[in-house]
Symmetry: C2
Subunit: 98 residues, 2 copies
Amino acid sequence: MDMNENKYEIMAEIFKAFADPTRLMILKLLSENESMCVCKIIEELKKPQPTISHHLNILKKSGLIRARKKGTWNHYYIVDPKIKYIISTMENVIGENK
Amino acid sequence: MDMNENKYEIMAEIFKAFADPTRLMILKLLSENESMCVCKIIEELKKPQPTISHHLNILKKSGLIRARKKGTWNHYYIVDPKIKYIISTMENVIGENK
DNA sequence: TTACAATATACAAAAATTTATATATAATTA
DNA sequence: TAATTATATATAAATTTTTGTATATTGTAA
């Protein structure tokens, strides 16, 4: 069987983006809000600003979210609507195994 | 908004199980083979036995796979068929963004 | 029994990740 | 222009993860 490892490295990168509670909470917020500025995300999650910025950057580099600048504000939003689907599928997996 | 962090910690644990190329390759093999013994997985992936055992253990602890013992052999298999679905959904996300 | 084969576990070094503090930058307003 | 606000970046300590070597365990067969 052809185990094209590179393909699975790329996939693993995307799964890694999801593999952190803070990032999942950010994705949850973004999936319910069309777009959000960093300050609003900080307010909701009550974590230090550089921590949030760091996680936003990881999500952005993974291709899951993008940013649109408006003055000083930076509004982040989810790129692919399937992301919501991945999250809810994962919620089902949890529901059935725990 | 209620950001029940514990829920996202549990979800992150499951995403973490997927977030490694070796584990993704193991899941891919198991998703195509009903069940496989460790020696067969080692043969396919050409990695040291303790490395494979370690990853199998992570997948087992995450609840994604289980083992059934047959003599000296240990046969691993996927628990939830939705796992195949998660992987193929992720493959689609890759396909569209890259 | 003893030897062997399949697998698990212990363990340690290397690498990657998370978090927070300090600092920089850039846009806006006074 | 100076001060302020929103955000990014640098960086370092702490933690977690990955990998491989050595070793233990367990079941089978001689």
